[in-house]
Amino acid sequence: MSKTRITAEPGMPQIIISCEFDAPRDLVFRAHTDPDLLVQWLGPRDLTLTVERYETRDGGRWRYVHTDSAGISYGFHGVFHGDPSPDAIVQTFEFEGAPGHVKLDVTTLQQRGVSTLVRTVSVFPSVEDRDAMIASGMERGTHDSAERLAELLATLQAR
């Protein structure tokens, strides 16, 4: 596997994420479209992913929820545009904590010899939407860290 490369150019309402995996394209495609596989990898290990629906067809809806160790849930949903294929998985993506700020994700899988290059181009309605989405992820992390610190302090004081 290659290093994950994230490109977020200043002033551009998009993010490009790419990574190359040592696996055939069809298998990488399955890992992206089979909900039983998706829950095994999407998101950090400390978040539990629950897929409520994942209708991988043109017009099909999807919704999943990430739950952190404190039991706080973050819901996401969207719609598939066109039948997903290794050539293109096109879907809208909306964080339920920021309704109306919908991004469009286009994921392409490209066979490169024995490995597969996965490239996702995310387009946001505005630069502000893009920046806010990334910033909200960071705030959540800061929040988590603060909670963990509070728990640690409580444990130390109890001793």
């Binding site: 069809d26 890992a31 998101g43």
Partner: protein, 139 residues
């Protein structure tokens, strides 16, 4: 970092001339005339760029004698880096997990092949990896 401050920093970084100015200031403070020298634009235009950079907190300006010196303030750049770092971690960890999953699926006979792979040739790295693992376990 507040989202509006982040917008200011990103807005300031969105211009190639301003990025070039920051690169120049990374070598040390400079006057408006010194900053304008490499560019085919006027000193007032450079001053406008400096104002945007100053509002974003990316530079500070002070006077020495009659010259007004600009100095790089790196802290907002560090904040931008950490802003992206968590997003980067999300995908780094997801992709590490995906990589593990793909290896496990390839090693497992019944987990693969999928329908469209049946006609295709077997994949050398999967075979190699599986046999390496098997040898490792035997020893």
């Amino acid at each position: 970092m507040a989202a509006d401050r982040l917008s200011l920093v990103f807005g300031a970084l969105a211009d190639p001339t301003r990025r070039a100015i920051l690169t120049r200031l990374a070598d040390g403070e400079a006057t408006v005339a010194e900053l304008a020298a490499p560019f085919a634009i006027s000193q007032p235009a450079i001053s406008k760029h400096l104002k945007v950079l100053e509002q974003a907190g990316l530079i500070s300006r002070n006077r020495r004698a009659t010259a007004r010196l600009s100095r790089l303030q790196a802290e907002p750049l560090r904040e931008v880096t950490s802003w992206l770092a968590r997003y980067q971690r999300f995908w780094d960890e997801s992709h590490e997990r995906l990589d593990d999953l793909l290896a496990a699926l390839q090693a497992r006979q019944d987990g693969y092949p999928g329908p469209s792979q049946q006609a295709a040739a077997p994949t050398p790295p999967a075979t190699a990896r599986a046999s390496e693992t098997a040898e490792g376990n035997d020893e």
